[in-house]
Amino acid sequence: MTGCSLGFINPLSVLENPGTTAGDFYARNFEKKAQPGRVILNLGPQHPSTHGVLRVLCELDGEYVARCEPILGYLHRMHEKMGEVKTPWQFLPNLGRVDYLHPLAWNWAFVGAAEKLAGLTVPPRAEWLRIISCELNRISSHLLWWGAFVMDLGGFTPILYAFEEREKINDILQIITGSRLTMANFRFGGVCADGDARFFKLIQEFIPYLRERLKMYQGLVTDNVILRRRLEGVGPIDVDLCQRYGATGPILRAAGLPRDLRVDYPYGYYDQVELTIPTGPVNDSFGRYLVRLAEIETSLSIVERALKVIPDGPIIMEKAPKVSWKLPAGESYMAVEGARGQINVHLVSDGGKTPYRVKLRAPGFSNLSLFAEAAKGTLLADAIAILGSLDLVIPEIDR
């Protein structure tokens, strides 16, 4: 306690001698390169606008972010070690928890890698069920991103509207996956539960309903002049930046390159589905916003097409691998187009009970790495807008 004298404490005392902040290891490490006259600010890990537990150390020059560095590891659970300790079948529930916004893409990546390695064939009905559930999951992930992004910019209501739609998708996906968030219904060689009549009826009702709601979103948020002014020209990310940092997904597409794994390396039955890849008119935050909303429309058309074509039949191959199934020796690299970009699993097995090495490549990891360069010299409010436009899910970044 500083006594009750008129203790005039100058919170800016840090400016004269930067080395004095208590800070932890990372703050001290970050501060070595700080210039005097700058405030070191901790955005996170407990901060309302970092989705999950992300910490960004910023060096502020007034309101401008002179230099920043994201600090990771607050949500690190070491899924890759669990992959090496559990049998492939037991590792499946982990994949529902690596990225809880688009878990079915992670399921597909791991199960696809194992199927490619072991040469398992998946019956057609299961392939179409996979496409339907994965695309619906992508829509629910984009909806949550949309709500959270507008909340970062100050609008509190849209996220509640987005959650109404998410509830409907969760009701649909709960029929075949049994859970509403950490879904893990993919099995080696197929899917574990079949969609009954109610499942298809709910989807039939959901598609026109969501198209109707997207028009409302357009009026409420997309055309809103305050949002436009907050996003246009903020945080331009061009193709060179994407190439140097390995950013993929909506960020690369907003930069103008129509790169989509569902078209470049068609896995499952994606080659039987014609797919228009939306690329952003402009490569700033508003371009990324428009690309993701257009992707919701693409996913809806894919689900519509799949509903017409899905055949009857088994949902899993005959002698599907059981819990103690062993992966054959070899290496396989499966890439799946997740909501945030390329989800790649590098599966290496020496034929033992558990895989030898499971490398999970998260799209958010590379997308976030370019934030330090994209947010240099912007206002603090713009840095938060760029962070939101990257659609980050911290658990998948930390794995």
Partner: protein
């Protein structure tokens, strides 16, 4: 300069459009379900994968189909299951530690005799980890006796997955050790016979509104009484409407958003002591997770 003025006027118009939308929603009905008084439609919960439970015996519903072959205990990634084999094939104690379970379904899919299935219990809440160690045998007995008085039509070979969504609330086993029973244990619950009829969504029969919770005092939501002989007060009292014997509906009206059936606002049942019967093996060392021996992790 003129263009700037025109932009601002268009901007003003977009603000008004935004306000008209929120204004319209201001007057439209509320979308959320008010939990204690309304419950999410059972048709939605029918496919929910809750904590696992033993399936009812074919001939005698209180007997389990488990032959204690330990296949599930080996398969479980979280080491949640402990099955102790009695002299006969049937197990004498079946412990399931829900605090380590990740609901992956490995046990359900590897069980050779189909003795395990997912329950649809959503409202399972306890005060301590100790109470999450559920004794599935006693839970099976209570559910079995629950159905004892209704002749169970042979379960049609509906898909194993769509098991009858029966999770009747029933107080725990009758005999009490010391804890004073505040409510007569013998419930006269009015439960409809759980016809495992396939849910036909399009039949336009109006859904029966759920009659209020059975008149008997205790609507103990945790169907399986905690195995450990702790006479702790069973905490989950503030959600009475949870495991009411939900009859299988024949045709929920076909609108899409989750129909909430309003439960008559009956008084919240007073908290009853879980009368755990003097369990002979209660003090036997149950599967102790605190030690988590490292060698188990290796799976070599």
């Amino acid at each position: 300069m003129l263009k700037a003025i025109w932009d601002n006027i268009k901007g003003l118009y977009s603000l008004l459009v935004g306000m008209s939308i929120t204004g319209r929603y201001l007057l439209s009905p509320v979308e959320t379900i008010h939990f204690p008084r309304q419950v999410v439609d059972d048709e939605i919960m029918a496919s929910f994968r809750g904590p696992i439970q033993l399936t009812l015996g074919k001939k005698d519903p209180t007997q389990t189909r488990c032959i204690s072959c330990q296949m599930c205990a080996k398969a479980c990634p979280g080491h949640c299951l402990t099955v102790t084999k009695g002299d006969a094939k049937a197990p004498i104690q079946w412990l399931y530690d829900f605090s380590y379970c990740c609901l992956c379904g490995a046990c359900v899919e590897t069980c050779p005799t189909g003795a395990l299935e997912f329950s649809h219990k959503v409202y399972l809440v306890t005060v301590s980890r100790q109470e999450l160690i559920l004794d599935l045998l006693s839970d099976l007995k209570t559910r079995g006796t629950q159905l004892g008085n209704q002749i169970v039509p042979p379960v049609p070979p509906a898909a194993k997955e769509a098991s009858p969504s029966v999770a009747p609330a029933s107080p725990s086993a009758p005999a009490t050790l010391a804890a004073p029973t505040s409510a007569p244990p013998a419930p006269e619950t009015k439960t409809d016979p759980p016809k495992a009829a396939e849910i036909k969504p399009d039949a336009a029969k109006p859904a029966q509104t759920k009659e209020p919770a059975p008149a008997s005092g205790s609507t103990d939501p945790v169907a399986a009484s905690p195995a450990v002989n702790s006479a702790t007060n069973n905490p989950a009292t503030n959600n009475p409407a949870t495991n009411i014997a939900n009859d299988v509906k024949t045709g929920a009206p076909a609108q899409s958003e989750p129909k909430a059936q309003t439960v008559a606002p009956q008084e919240l049942a007073p908290a009853t002591k879980p009368e755990t019967k003097a369990n002979p093996v209660a003090n036997k060392k149950i599967h102790d997770h605190s030690s988590r021996p490292a060698k188990k992790r290796g799976h070599k």
